[in-house]
Symmetry: C2
Subunit: 362 residues, 2 copies
Amino acid sequence: MSEPKRLSAPVAPGGTIGILGGGQLGRMLSLAAARLGLKTHIFSDEADAPAYQVCDTHTHAAYGERTALETFAKRCDAITFEFENVPAETVAIVAALSPTSPGARALKTAQDRFEEKSFVARLGLTTPDFQAVDSEQSARAAFATIAGPAVLKTRRMGYDGKGQAKVTSADQAAQAYAAFRGAPCILERFVKFDYEASVIAARAIDGQFAAYDPPENIHENHILRRSIVPSRLSRRGIEKAVSLARAIADALDYVGVFAVELFVSGDALMVNEIAPRVHNSGHWTIDACLVSQFEQHIRAVAGWPLGHPGRHSNAVMENIIGEEAEHWPAYAARGAALHLYGKPEIRPGRKMGHFTKLTPLS
Amino acid sequence: MSEPKRLSAPVAPGGTIGILGGGQLGRMLSLAAARLGLKTHIFSDEADAPAYQVCDTHTHAAYGERTALETFAKRCDAITFEFENVPAETVAIVAALSPTSPGARALKTAQDRFEEKSFVARLGLTTPDFQAVDSEQSARAAFATIAGPAVLKTRRMGYDGKGQAKVTSADQAAQAYAAFRGAPCILERFVKFDYEASVIAARAIDGQFAAYDPPENIHENHILRRSIVPSRLSRRGIEKAVSLARAIADALDYVGVFAVELFVSGDALMVNEIAPRVHNSGHWTIDACLVSQFEQHIRAVAGWPLGHPGRHSNAVMENIIGEEAEHWPAYAARGAALHLYGKPEIRPGRKMGHFTKLTPLS
């Protein structure tokens, strides 16, 4: 496998950013790139991906199609992705032909919950206690070690609560493992916390770092419902949160925007998850900041200087989920910034859009 | 000629807005439509129009190609344009097949400076004194009537100072007319004023009206250099400006965003020009308002309720003109919201982008 190609100079306006994935994140990345005079080329395995509607060029092909990937990569000046579960082989193919970020190390770490938590723990940061599980027997043993209610999660591919089960006994842990049909798992101690927050931050190729004010996040049915800035975090709490995010990004030699999801209890922060991409809890930055998380990511990937992450307003971002999208006329009349994702079909639990309300800085 | 088609219901997300013209205004309209989950179809006679890069579909054809126009119109749920000099015949063809706004009356009025000023005067609003000119003789007579320094302008197709000449004698007026090769002209008294301002406002199909805070505009070489909000207008001046804009929109049964350019002297306002479209002096609304002029226009054209036009910040918008675009790395590092238009070629006087600086509300 060839070495990853490096960016020799910032991608100039008129250049093309390739994006693997064509969902709402790819779409909003595309819109942000356009503001900067950059074209986008979307690569997706979906026939009718929402991002196709706003990009300069798109390729509809499977993530395993080498020829399609190579043709795509040769036409792009830099490449990124909108989801962390891009196959490593896909990334290796495009990264050999066009500078691709974030890099393989960040992806590998974030794609596997056990790798991720082990990495976070090695940095000296706090996570819920965890144990790898690869058999019913080890599920029981892990439960005994953790000694309390826990959550069994598949190590790979879970999102929005998919591939997760809460367990309160060794038997349940073993049964949950069996239900995941032998997928490698991680058992995490079920932690109590006051609330959830996240750090959305960016790191540039030269190590420049910029974090947004961490939002407080409210989930319903394992799906993000609402993000609120400012959060309840104290000034000291914000500093700690941003500082741990920076430690993570530096250790991964990360390039681009990423999110660190946190459990907050008083002043104590626990790392729940790292998302190596723009993040739903950062959507409010489109309307409350001069430079959104999407533009910030494009800036990092294109080798541009990062923008200022300050916000001019307080914000509450709320997701529009599933059939709620049918109420678009009401949302349109609501006095909020409305964002609809152009998805051709409403499905239960599907993120169809969001809206952000702004209020003056408090 | 068929009657213009009317919008029977708001265009739902997933629908398509057709835009005649593919420059930066069409591009920013396209980006705004995408936020609302609407697709755009750009129709332009340019081979490499900047808006093609961000739309769902584009048609490259002359504005006189009936078949291309009809095919385009049938695929769109509503149609608008980014420039006022669309041939009346073009508008009539598409308007018969798909609801098109603003309508023919607004276009006809704004396309001809003499029609426009006569219309404004009939509303009882103040404009610089003006006279139609259609011969060297009438140029001399007009100069005598106006009795003072004046500007001879072609009645049609001028922008950014093109088709204008300042004249200080009857002879000069006649010579300027001759230089415009017999194009119908208007002679306008050259007025002194303290500064220029503009009202950017929107009117919906049902008459709902929303105006942004009027910016103060600074021109250099007849091209807009900078727009500043708040302007120097007093509270009373703002009320007068917004009220005259509303009178204009109501009289034209206008649908969409429009601009009224004003000369301001103390508390006195003079109407300089009406632009029946989104306007350069409203670009700051992208970054300083919840709903930009581009989204507002799409909302009006699509039959949606207008958004709230309030601003959350003070703003200074500055154009990036011609070869200034070569300094994009400096603009990117400047702590402002940067917008580059994806134009393939830098030309003198060409609007290549803009940037907006925000400061807290004063």
